[in-house]
């Protein structure tokens, strides 16, 4: 080793030692600190967010503050060894304290269940009203799921239904071509299939006991008593008419009612869709207009209600303008006696 390198080596060694000390000190301190964490909930298990946590070193008197997040979780890092007092407070809850001792590098989890200053029992609600019912929720979920399918199938059904009605205009008459009749029959079959599939989900959706039926849904259910039997009768009459035409005969007898029954069925079906789609007042106006076209002695009045919570008002207006002695709708569910 020469003179230059001999002088250089001790200097480098001292520099390395100094650097080691500089990095070693904070590392040593980091290794001995601890983390206190935990979750704050209410006595019922609900998460308490924005709760304040104060961790006080009993030896030094120094406090560290923290707050729970939206999950009710808190974390207080960099706690040295020693005895601490942990205080938790949250709006609407009684404060709580606990003591905890940290050794070096000992992370601790401390959860708190806070007691509400005021509780539901203080308000006088019975336990039966405040306790959840998972079975009832499952029933509601199934009901909603089935009614959603009913709604979608019902809307889809409107398409072949409209096509069937339109094709029906070309299926009868004096024409001897069977193509239009075949098309009309095929569309009618598709309509009936979709209709009864939709009806299945509505009929077998779970009922919720104790529910008073009110609002537009009453009209929707009442119209089912028109389009339901209509959807059974229409294909039967249609089959009779189809058979007669296929034999080269003129459609006669009860089969002649096929078209009229189909139109009434389609109208009731369309109104049923509108009844759960529009506001109460608009529905009663539309219902009034549709029914007036079938009840020829009943004048089409401009005084049907509109807007707001007018389901009851609309029904009252319709009742005020009906002539119960006239029309084939006398005594029907839509015109209750």
């Amino acid at each position: 080793m020469n003179r230059k390198s001999a002088r250089f080596v001790p200097g480098v060694t001292i520099l390395v030692l100094l650097l080691s000390l500089a990095f070693a000190v904070p590392l040593r301190a980091q290794d001995s600190s601890s983390v206190l964490s935990g979750t704050i909930t209410s006595s019922s298990g609900a998460i308490v967010s924005n709760a304040k946590i104060s961790v006080k070193n009993l030896a030094t008197g120094e406090s560290t503050e923290a707050q729970t997040n939206s999950a009710g979780f808190y974390s207080v890092p960099n706690l040295g060894p020693g005895d601490y007092e942990v205080s938790v407070s949250a709006a609407g809850f009684d404060a709580k304290t606990a003591k905890v001792t940290f050794a070096a590098e000992s992370n601790r989890t401390l959860n708190f269940a806070l007691t509400a200053t005021l509780s539901l029992q203080d308000l006088g609600f019975p336990a039966s009203q405040t306790q959840g019912n998972p079975a009832e929720q499952a029933r509601l979920n199934k009901r909603s799921h089935m009614l959603q399918i009913h709604q979608r199938l019902g809307l889809i059904t409107a398409i072949p239904l409209a096509a069937t009605v339109i094709s029906g205009a070309f299926a009868g008459g004096k024409s001897t071509s069977s193509t239009n009749r075949d098309l009309h029959a095929a569309l009618g079959t598709a309509t009936a299939g979709l209709y009864f599939a939709s009806a299945y989900y509505a009929i077998f959706a779970p009922k919720i006991p104790g529910t008073k039926v009110e609002g537009n849904i009453r009209l929707h259910k009442a119209l089912a008593w028109i389009h339901g039997p209509g959807m059974i009768l229409t294909p039967i009459l249609g089959e009779m008419a189809f058979s007669q035409r296929s034999k080269g005969e003129k459609v006669h007898g009860i089969a002649r009612m096929h078209g009229q029954v189909a139109i009434i069925t389609a109208a009731a079906y369309g109104l049923a869709i509108l009844s759960v789609s529009l506001k109460s007042g608009h529905v009663s106006k539309t219902a009034h207009a549709v029914l007036a076209t079938f009840d020829r002695k009943r004048p089409l009045s401009a005084n049907a209600s509109s807007g707001g919570s007018a389901q009851t008002g609309g029904a009252k207006n319709a009742a005020a303008h009906r002539t119960p002695e006239s029309g084939f709708l006398k005594g029907s569910t839509f015109y209750p006696d």
């Binding site: 609407g92 019912n133 998972p134 529910t211 389901q311």
Partner: protein
């Protein structure tokens, strides 16, 4: 005799005066939620809320609770659907906790920090303004809480495949009696 009466009065009154505690009871209420949809605007109203408040050492805590089932929109089908999407059978109560300084209760406009438990979720609303009108020992509080469907992780209901708007403000009209 008068001195004796005064001493008796002070002995009886002092504990109450020293504790500085007052109680509030909700006398009557109207809570109305508002739902917007392209085809429908609907509202559901409940008069079944109950509430209490305690004020001590200059701070007040209020608790108001209302059953989810008590809201009526005039359409039973809609109400049942609302009950289902808000998980109302599993979490049957809406609770609102308010913590505020007692001095704030004397203002005509009270700004409250609310913590609302609904549909199994907790949401906080800061500085919601309420108008306060006091008649004797009764105070009428009115205001609108800017709640949203997403705050409570509720799947927005749909009509004809179109969902309702996210905002479902709740209008509050409450009469509190101080005891």
């Amino acid at each position: 005799m008068n001195k004796k009466l005064l001493i008796v009065f002070l002995l009886l009154a002092l504990p109450g005066l020293a504790s500085g505690q007052s109680q509030w009871v909700l006398e009557k209420s109207t809570l109305t939620y508002h739902v917007s949809h392209p085809l429908h605007e609907s509202e559901g109203t409940s008069h079944a809320a109950r509430g209490k408040g305690t004020c001590q050492a200059g701070q007040c805590d209020f608790l108001i609770a209302v059953p989810v089932k008590s809201f009526n929109s005039g359409d039973s089908n809609r109400d049942l659907h609302m009950l289902q999407v808000t998980r109302g059978a599993q979490f049957p109560m809406v609770t609102v906790r308010v913590h505020l300084p007692e001095a704030a209760l004397t203002s005509a406009t009270i700004h409250c920090d609310l913590e609302i438990d609904f549909a199994g979720q907790t949401a906080s609303y800061k500085q919601v303004p309420f108008q306060a009108v006091t008649h004797g020992n009764e105070t009428e509080i009115t205001g609108t809480i800017p709640t949203t469907v997403s705050d409570f992780k509720i799947d927005p209901p749909k009509l004809l495949m179109v969902p309702i708007k996210n905002e479902i403000p709740v209008h509050v009209d409450m009469t509190w009696r101080r005891s």
